[in-house]
Subunit: 150 residues, 6 copies
Amino acid sequence: MSKIAIFPGSFDPFTKGHEDIVRRSLPLFDKVIIAIGNNAQKNRYFEIDYIIPKIESCFEKTDNVEVKVFKGLTAEFAKESGAQFLIRGLRNTTDFEYENSISQANKYLWKDLETVFMITSPHLAYISSSLIRDIHKYDGDVSGFLPYKI
Amino acid sequence: MSKIAIFPGSFDPFTKGHEDIVRRSLPLFDKVIIAIGNNAQKNRYFEIDYIIPKIESCFEKTDNVEVKVFKGLTAEFAKESGAQFLIRGLRNTTDFEYENSISQANKYLWKDLETVFMITSPHLAYISSSLIRDIHKYDGDVSGFLPYKI
Amino acid sequence: MSKIAIFPGSFDPFTKGHEDIVRRSLPLFDKVIIAIGNNAQKNRYFEIDYIIPKIESCFEKTDNVEVKVFKGLTAEFAKESGAQFLIRGLRNTTDFEYENSISQANKYLWKDLETVFMITSPHLAYISSSLIRDIHKYDGDVSGFLPYKI
Amino acid sequence: MSKIAIFPGSFDPFTKGHEDIVRRSLPLFDKVIIAIGNNAQKNRYFEIDYIIPKIESCFEKTDNVEVKVFKGLTAEFAKESGAQFLIRGLRNTTDFEYENSISQANKYLWKDLETVFMITSPHLAYISSSLIRDIHKYDGDVSGFLPYKI
Amino acid sequence: MSKIAIFPGSFDPFTKGHEDIVRRSLPLFDKVIIAIGNNAQKNRYFEIDYIIPKIESCFEKTDNVEVKVFKGLTAEFAKESGAQFLIRGLRNTTDFEYENSISQANKYLWKDLETVFMITSPHLAYISSSLIRDIHKYDGDVSGFLPYKI
Amino acid sequence: MSKIAIFPGSFDPFTKGHEDIVRRSLPLFDKVIIAIGNNAQKNRYFEIDYIIPKIESCFEKTDNVEVKVFKGLTAEFAKESGAQFLIRGLRNTTDFEYENSISQANKYLWKDLETVFMITSPHLAYISSSLIRDIHKYDGDVSGFLPYKI
């Protein structure tokens, strides 16, 4: 049975921190699906149709990475995708407490779903999508945070 | 003088984690008032009139639990209710830092009000009202989180 | 049934932070037993026979406080003392994580034992017995940390 | 070269905790600029024109404190003001994780900008602008939190 | 290339929390080596020769688990064992901060070594080897913490 | 009045993380004294006479850095040295909680002593003296952690 993991998030935008986790997790899985949650209630800063090709451009030379969009519950999308694993990055203790709850909720929703964590590389651990949006809003240079040009 | 405690919150919804704290605190107090804060600025997901009977149903056989709704400051409602104690649950370090500030603010507002804490039972510690609302919004099964049917 | 709580610790020495928690918990209980754990493996800095009268001196005018010494497991001493409650202070997140484990272990050892927490008053939250021992070792003035003279 | 630091924030309102950090940092710098970020997206509770004179009133007898308003990125305002330092207060671990990311982002935006921290005095560490707004909204007494009358 | 992970520790003793992480990680790897660090400076409470058969008894019916003893650096033992992965459990924020440093040190010692984390199941998260030793020292019942009889 | 800071520690050994904090603090002060605490109770791994020249070698070209050894309380050494400031690095939340207590104890011992913090650069934040001693004990390569050869 092939080992499939989903890497879920809103990726608004997809950062070097996200890329770090995907690349480091690839040796563990046969396929990693970068799953963009399309949450209707949230107004995105970077549109989904703008972000998908950007993310795909990062993994052109990597054949076991796919980019998909989903609505609804992450656990259900994992089940539909045949993914028994969920991969997540941890940057600090605030992330840990949040992810601790989410991973148990996902386990409640689908008992076979295992969340596997990696600690984000230290030089990328301060990067977050919200920080990038704040800096970009005031015309700050965000190029150092993104694995593609915007 | 009877020992009265209030257990304040928005309870949107009231969870098994909340119930855990109320039941475990009952031996400490003569009466526990579950105090639903009716904060006009916040759009509730579960209406207050829907939640009150649900909470009451959990404690039908428990005579020293009351359910009340209040507006304004928790410390003032405690004073009006003759409650010298405030009971709160702690799930993780994020809760601790938040509750540390709130309990000192309540002490500032009414110096005789003592906040007493219990650590939420570990198998319930990942449950939060916001998590339940997120899952419920996408038709996920939240029955395992609630001590009543919805 | 009277409400008895034990306040366990090595109290090497008993600090103003400890006194803060005992005094603030008294309205909750009929009796609070300050339980000094006499752990043979640990070399005490302040001998137990020196500390007992010092602690007792703090509560001379308080009739529902007792000072006892015990060996072995806290949960067992609580059961022997007829105490259904254990009272503990929380100063910061490091305390929270430690106390979270200990309170669950005590619940495992005696399911009827409930640990009740209070957050230490902020101006006393930096005080610890080990800090006092370090300062005292180098002839520093520790009088501000202790509710009695040494 | 004179040592200039900016103390940035939205200061909605400016609290005794903020004042504590400014006063304790003054011996370190030749000038401290209290920099009020005027973020158009955020609806202020206390208008900027109301807050400026209040803050200035706190430092009437202190000649090396200025109050300025800025738009956009903190790092850029620091550069324009000739400030090589940014001074921030830390109240708890939640602050620490947030400030850790922000200080690295500011270093990314301007490598010569050094963020210097002080730990807020314990009796003021529970005070936050959001807590004050919540209490003020319900006509609670916030005078103990503010270094000026409102 | 087969995916080998080592699960390093002193395992003094090996707990249900350790077992939880090994079992949940098995679907990720072709082989998991439970690697007991034999640190000469530390006086063990449970001798290594006593613990090895106990651990092996837990995985009799599991063919891709081995138990080995090693001296020296974990990263070097991983390299010698052909293991590109290190699997570790996370119980709380104290664990997170410790493991964050250790995983980066291991990456420094062998850049190809990736540490993969899982969050310990909540009902086991309070268990630690040191807690078990403390309880066992005072003849407390530790059977609920161990996946084998002692 | 010249601005003097002490940077206290046991420095067993002095690491790149320590060096990072000293260098980044130099623009703030007229002089920084690297103060090695000579705690008789602790067996050092690297002798003080071995470490002093190593630290001095790091700052040969920096005229406002001194290296001194002291016994007893840090606050008293600061007072004797005419240092109104204490500079400390913060790597994570565990450091923060520890330093929060220590800085308040130092303020209690000498009210004019202000502790100023900087957050350690992320790529150095995992380094600790104890980690280096552990790796060095097993002949691991610690050169990447030290700003001098050993």
